[in-house]
C-alpha cells in the first residue's frame, strides 16, 4: 500500500521528505561499512530481489493472496543501512517507473516502508539475538518477530502522520483500530514468510545472513606451503 499524492497535506509531506533524505544520507555513508566498495552492485541486486519477492504471491485461501513488504527481511539479510538504501531505491523506482506511490508522497513512503520497517525489524532482531541463545534458530525467531512488529509499527506511524497532516477528519480511534488491526494480520503473514526465507538462506549460505554473522567462526587467511617442494 503506497501512499498516493494528496493523501497527506503538503507541510507534512515536506517534513517526511526531510526525514527520509536525512536517513538516506546517513545510510549512504554507513552502508559502506556493511558492503565496502561493493555497495552499488550489491545494493542494486538486493533491491531487485526485494522488488521481485514483492511479486511472489503467498496464497491465503479463498482466492486471496498476500505478498511480502520486505523491510525486516532486507535488514536481517544485508544489514540495516544497506536495507534502508535498498527499500528506498525500490520505492523510488516504483514511484517513478510504475507511478505506484505519489512523487509528493515519496518522503512519506520512504519513511514508513523504507525506514520504520527496517529500523523496527532490525532493532528486534538485534535484541533477540543478544538475549537468546547463540544459534541459527534464534536469528530465525528474531527475524519473524521483527517482521511481525515492523508492519503494525509502520501502520501506527502512518496513523500518526494522518492525524497531523491527513486530509480528512476521521476519529483517531477508528482509524487506529482499523489500520493497526488490519496490519497486525498482514504482519503475521510477513513474520511467517520472513522466518521461512531467512531459515532457507541460513541452511545453504549462512555467511550471507548479516544478522547471523556472529555465529560463524572467523576463518583467517592461511597460506599453506608444500612441505616437500618439487624439484624439476
Amino acid at each position: 500500500m503506497h501512499v498516493p499524492d494528496g493523501f497527506i497535506n503538503a507541510p507534512t509531506s515536506i517534513a517526511t521528505g526531510v526525514v527520509a533524505a536525512g536517513a538516506l544520507a546517513v545510510a549512504l555513508r554507513k552502508a559502506g561499512d556493511e558492503l565496502d566498495e561493493k555497495t552499488a552492485p550489491m545494493a542494486g541486486l538486493v533491491a531487485a530481489f526485494i522488488f521481485a519477492t514483492q511479486m511472489l504471491n503467498f496464497p491465503v485461501g479463498a482466492g486471496t493472496s498476500g505478498h511480502l513488504l520486505g523491510g525486516a527481511l532486507a535488514a536481517v539479510l544485508v544489514g540495516p543501512w544497506t536495507a534502508i538504501l535498498c527499500m528506498s531505491t525500490v520505492l523510488l523506482v516504483q514511484s517513478l517507473l510504475f507511478a505506484d506511490g505519489g512523487l509528493t508522497a515519496l518522503g512519506t513512503n520512504v519513511t514508513l516502508m523504507g525506514i520504520i520497517t527496517v529500523a523496527v525489524g532490525w532493532g528486534i532482531v538485534k535484541i533477540v539475538t543478544v538475549v537468546g541463545p547463540n544459534s541459527p534458530k534464534t536469528v530465525v525467531a528474531g527475524a519473524g518477530l521483527g517482521a511481525l512488529i515492523s508492519v503494525p509499527a509502520a501502520a501506527f506511524a502512518f496513523v500518526g502522520l494522518f492525524e497531523f497532516g491527513g486530509t480528512a477528519d476521521i476519529r483517531l480511534s477508528t482509524l487506529m483500530a482499523a489500520m493497526v488491526g488490519w496490519h497486525v494480520l498482514i504482519g503475521v503473514g510477513e513474520a511467517v514468510i520472513t522466518a521461512l526465507t531467512v531459515s532457507s538462506v541460513l541452511a545453504v549460505r549462512p555467511d550471507l545472513v548479516y544478522a547471523a554473522r556472529h555465529l560463524l567462526s572467523p576463518r583467517p587467511l592461511e597460506i599453506r606451503t608444500d612441505p616437500k617442494p618439487v624439484t624439476s
Partner: protein, 253 residues
Amino acid sequence: MGAGHGHRLHYHGHSALHRMPAECKLIALLIFVLAVVATPRTQYWAYGLDALALSVAVACSRVPVSYLAKRMVVETPFVVFAVLLPFIAVGERTQFLGVTVSADGLEAGLSLLAKATLGVAAGLLLAATTEPRALLAGLEGKLPQQLVQIMAMMIRYLDVTGDQLRRMRIARESRGFVATQPRHWPVLGHAAGALFVRSYERGERVHLAMLSRGYSGTLPGLAPPPASAGDWSRALLLPAAAALVALAAWLLR
C-alpha cells in the same frame, strides 16, 4: 538477455514529450503534483482544469489513452479508501445520491480521488514517455551519485531477477506443485531464499566483472548535454498551468 530490456511501462515513440530531456520532465512532474496537492479541496473546477491540461500533454505524447488507463489500476487500494471516507469520517451529515454521509468525509474523499488520479496519471505519462536510462541520466546530479548507481543497477537487473522468479515458478508447476494455501508457504519461502542467494551471488559476479573493466567507484557519466532553455520552457507549460489553477483556486476560495 535477448528481450524485455526496456521497462514494461515505457511506450516507444518519438513525440515532443518523448524527446524532451528527462530532467525537464522530472521537475515538471514534481511541480505539477505539488500544485495539484496544494489546490484547496472544495474547488472541484480546479481539478477539471488540471485534468484538461494533463490531457493536452497526453495528446502531445501520442500515448494511447487506453494504454495509460490500464495502468491506472495501481491506484485501486486508495480508490477503495476514498469511497469509504464519507462513511467513516465524523462531522456534519449530508445527503449524497440518497445516502446520508459525512460532509467532511465526502469532500475529502472526492478531492483525494481527484488528486490521486491526477498524480498517478501524470506519473504514468512520465514513465510511458521516458526510457529508464534517460530517467537515470536525468536524476544524475539531483540525487547522490551512489543512489543513482544503485538505482541503475536495480533497474538493469529488475527483469533478470523477475525472470528468475518466473522460471522457478514454472519449474515448480512443471513438477505438479501449485501453491494454494498457507501450508504451502515453506516451498515459496525456499523459493524466496534461493532467489536471494542467486541475486546476491549475481551481485558479486557483476561487481567482479565491473572491477575487471576498471570500475573504481564511479560510473562513467550518463548525462546527455544539458537541457536548453527551449526544453525547459516547453516542459514547464503544464506545471505552470497547474500552478496558476492552484493560485486561482486559493484566491477564489
